[in-house]
C-alpha cells in the first residue's frame, strides 16, 4: 500500500505517495520530475544515478524511498549555488570533462562525495570510484578532481566563478562562510543527519523548519 513520505530534495520539502520499496530514483524522476540523476542499470553498478542522501553518496536506484523519510536528498540540480557552480562542477567545466554527458551528474556527485571524505584524494582513491563513463572521460575527470582538491578555500563575498579557479575546499564549505545560507538550514528531526550537505549547504536555504 502506498504511504506518504516526506523529505527534502535540493532544499525543497517534498511529499510523495509511494510504495515503501519504490527506489528513490523513480520517485525523483517519475514522481517529482527531477531528471538529473540518470538510469543506467538500476542495480547499483553504473552509478549514473549517484546523488547524496544527508550528504552521503548513494545510488538512488537501490535506495528505497522509505529510507529517505525526513532526510535531505541532493541531486546534481541542487549542487550549484544559483548561478555559481560548485567548485567540482567548475573544475569539470575547466577540464571540459563531459562528452555525451549522460554519466556526468553521477560522476560529479561521486567526486563531491570523495572530496568530502578525503580532502586530497590519491590516485588510488580515484581508482576506487566505480562510476562508469562509456565515453572514456576518465583522464579528464582525474584532472578535474585533483584541480578541485587544489582549489583554495573560497573567499567570502561570492562573485562570479570565472577564469580563476576558486571555491571551497571540502572542509571549508562555501555555505559556512555565507551566513545567509547557513543560518536557516535546519537539521532533520530524526537526529541522524550527517550535518547536512556540507558542500551544498546553500541548498537548504529557505527551508523553514524541520518537520516530522
Amino acid at each position: 500500500m502506498p504511504k506518504k513520505f516526506k523529505f527534502f530534495v535540493n532544499g525543497e520539502r517534498v511529499e510523495v505517495d509511494a510504495e515503501a520499496d519504490m527506489p528513490l530514483l523513480w520517485v525523483l524522476r517519475d514522481k517529482l520530475g527531477v531528471t538529473g540523476p540518470k538510469y543506467g542499470c538500476g542495480v547499483g553498478v553504473c552509478r549514473a544515478c549517484t546523488s547524496h542522501l544527508d550528504g552521503e553518496e548513494v545510488q538512488p536506484c537501490v535506495v528505497p524511498v522509505s529510507e529517505c523519510q525526513n532526510k535531505k536528498v541532493t541531486t546534481i540540480e541542487g549542487l550549484a549555488n544559483g548561478e555559481e557552480l560548485h567548485p567540482v562542477q567548475q573544475a569539470w567545466v575547466d577540464a571540459d570533462v563531459g562528452q555525451c554527458g549522460f554519466c556526468q551528474p553521477g560522476q560529479i556527485m561521486a567526486a563531491v562525495a570523495l572530496l568530502k571524505r578525503t580532502q586530497q584524494p590519491t590516485d588510488a582513491d580515484i581508482d576506487a570510484i566505480e562510476n562508469m563513463c562509456r565515453c572514456g572521460t576518465y583522464p579528464r575527470m582525474r584532472t578535474a578532481i585533483k584541480a578541485a582538491a587544489a582549489m583554495p578555500p573560497q573567499k567570502p563575498g561570492g562573485g562570479k566563478p570565472t577564469e580563476q579557479p576558486r571555491g571551497n575546499g571540502p572542509k571549508q564549505p562555501a555555505a559556512q562562510q555565507q551566513p545567509q545560507q547557513t543560518t536557516s538550514a535546519p537539521k532533520p528531526s530524526d537526529g541522524q543527519s550527517s550535518g547536512g550537505e556540507e558542500d551544498s549547504g546553500t541548498l537548504l536555504d529557505g527551508i523553514g523548519s524541520a518537520f516530522g
Partner: protein, 729 residues
Amino acid sequence: MAEPEPVAQDKSRGLRRRKFLTFLVAAPTLTVAGRFGFDALTEASAVPSLPALGEVSDLGDVIRTASTPTHHLMVLEVTEDTRVRFELPRLEVGQGISTSIAMIVAEELDARLDDVDVTLSDARPELEFNQMTGASANVRVLWEPVRRMAADARARLVQAAANRWGTSTDELTTQDSAVHAPDGRSLSYGELSADAREESAHGEPKAASEYSVVGNPLTRLDARDIVTGKAMYAMDLPVEGALPTVVARPPTINGTVGSVNAAKAKAMPGVVAVTTIPTGVAVSAETFWDAMRAKDALEISWNPGSIGTMSDSDIKSELKKAVQPLAAPKVRDTYLDATFDFAFVNHAPMEVESTVADVRADGTAEVWMPSQTPIYAQQVIAETLDFDLEAVTVHVIRAGGSFGRRLFVDTALEAVRVSQAIGRPVKLMRTRQDDMKHGRMRPRYHHKIRASYTGGEVLSFEHRLAGVAVDLNHGLGEALTATLAQQGQPVGGAGLYYFNFSQAVPYNVGLANQSIQEIQLDIPTASFRSVYSGTVRTAEEIVMDELAERMGKDPLEFRREIVKANSGTTVLSKVAEAADWGKAMPAGHAQGVAYHAEYRSHVACVVDIDATDAANPRVTKAVLAADVGQVINPRGLEAQLMGATMDGIATVLQAGVHIDNGAVRESSYGDYHWTKHRNAPFEVEVHIIPTTWDPGGAGELAIPASAGAVANAYARATGTRPRSFPISF
C-alpha cells in the same frame, strides 16, 4: 519553407540533382543556403558532376559524395535579434559536433560564439544522404558547405551595411556579430538581417592564417548544461502524458513470444496497459518502477531464439570454416603466420536505448529519439504504422553516447507500436539488461595473417578474416550502394563496399591483400566505432611488432621505415619523442606502439603498461600523436582520441560479450568490463600535428592504434603472444 525547384533530374543515376546554388527561404531575415557543390559556382555554370571513382579514396569521400547534392537544403539564418541559427542535420552523441559547427559558423561569419545556436534538425527526408551521423564523416562533409554558407551570409550583411551607409564594402569590417565602418559606426547583424536578405553576394571563406576561432581549443558549448544536469536526453523530456514503458524480453537472442498470461501484471498498481509486440511484451504504467515490477509478474512462455543453442565456440568454428585459406607460399623461416579472435562487443552506451512516441488517432505520429539516421527512422516508422511519411515527425534528441548503436531504430519501432496499440504517448526505455542481452554488437571475428619477408624487407602481407555480417541496413548502407552503383561499381553487399573503402594496409609491405568473408547469422549486429578497423588493423599492428622482432628491428623504427604516408612518419616520430620511446622500465612493465591511418587522418599511439600482475594489467600512460588535417576544436579532438583510447584498452584487455546457448551471458557493467577509472591510464597526452589541409575524420581513429599499442605492450611486458581478445575473457 519554400521548396527549391528541381531543375535537373537524372533518376537513372539514383540521386536527384538540383542546380540551385542558393535558394531563398520565405523568411523576413537573412537566410543562406548551402551551395550545391564545393566550388563557388556561378548560376550559369553547369551542374557539377560527382567526383569520379578515382578521386574517391575512402568511405568518407563516398559519404561526402552522397551528401553533396543536398547541401543547398541546409540553411543558416540570422535573426533580427542577432541570433545565428543553424539546424544541424546530425546527431550529437558526445563527439562535440554541435560545438565544432558553431565554431565554423562563428569564424566565417565573424559572429560571437554566444550568438550562434546550433540545434539538431528533425528528420528531413529531402536531405537524402545528408542526415547521417557516421563513418567519422561529419566534419569532413559539413566543413565546406557550412563555412561557405557563413561566408556568404557575412558578405551579404556587409553589402547591406555598405548600402545603408553608401560606402564601399571594402572599407567595412566585421567583428562580434556586427559590421563596422572606419568612422566608428557599426550595425549589428540583427539590424542588417532584413536588408541582407535582398543581397546575393558570395563570400570567400577565410585562409587558415586568419582563423581566430577555428583551431583554438574551446570547451564544449554545452559543458555547463552537462555539469548542472540540464542536458536533456529522450527520457528526460517532459512529453505530456507519456507513459513509462518497458518490455519483457526473451531469454535468448531473438526469441519470440509464445503465450502470455498478463492477469497478475495488469492488476498491479500503476499499470495502464500490457501490449504484445514482435520483440516481447510491453508494460506501460504510471512510473518505470510500476512498469518494471509488473513486467516481472508477467507469465510468458517463449519460443526459441534465432541461433538455437549456439555458443561462442560454435560461432568461432563457423568463422574458421568460412575464412578463406591463405594463398601466399610458405617459404621456410621467412614467413610469419598468426591467427586472431575477437569476441563480440556490445556498444553499451550509458544512455540505454529509449524513445518517446506519440502515435495519435488522427493518423499522425511524433517521435523523440537519439538517431544517427533520422530519415531512415522516419521511413521505417511510417511503414510500421502504415502512415504517410509526412505524417511522422522525428525529433532528434542528443544521445547519451552511441558508438554506432543509434544507427538503428529497433527501440523506436517498439515505442510506436505500443503507442499505436494503446492510443497513448509512451516513453519506452530498455533496461540495461535489455541493452546487454538484446543489444546490437560488434561481430565476432576470426583473422588469419601471413607475412613473408627476407632480410629487412616485407615481401607480402596477406590478411583473411571472417566475421558475422555487420548489419548495414540503416541508410548508411544505402548511401554506399547507391553512390557506388551510380559510379559503375559492381553491385555487391554494402559490407563489402564498406570493407573495401575503409581498409588498407598503411605500410609498404610488398604485395598486400585483405579480404573478408561475412557469415549470415541471425544475431543483432551494428557498426561499432571504427567498424572493421577495430579488429583488422589491431591484428595487423600486432603482426607488425612480431615482424620487427623477427627482423631484429625496433618496432617503432620498423614502422617509420615502411609507413607509406609522410604524415605517418611525422606522427610516429612525434609519439616516439613525446613518450620517450625505449625508456628503461622495470620488469613486468613495457611500452607498446601502434599506428593507424583512416578517414584521411593519421595517429600513432604509445602506451606504458604495468603487467606485473599479468592477469590484471594496467595501462598507466598513453601518448598519442595525430595528424587529422585542419582541426576545428583541438580540445574536442583530444577528447575523442582519449575516449577511443579507453575503448582500445577495454576491447583488448577485459571487455567482451559471451554467447552461451543462444543467449548473451552479460547483463550489466558488473559483468561487462568496460574501462573504469581503475583501468584507465593516469595520464593521456595528445599531440596534434598542425596542418591546414581539409579536415579528416577523428572520432573513431584512435581505436586500432590504442588497441594495437595495448596488445603490443602487453606482449612485451609478459613475453606472451596474445591472440584472442579480450585477453581476460
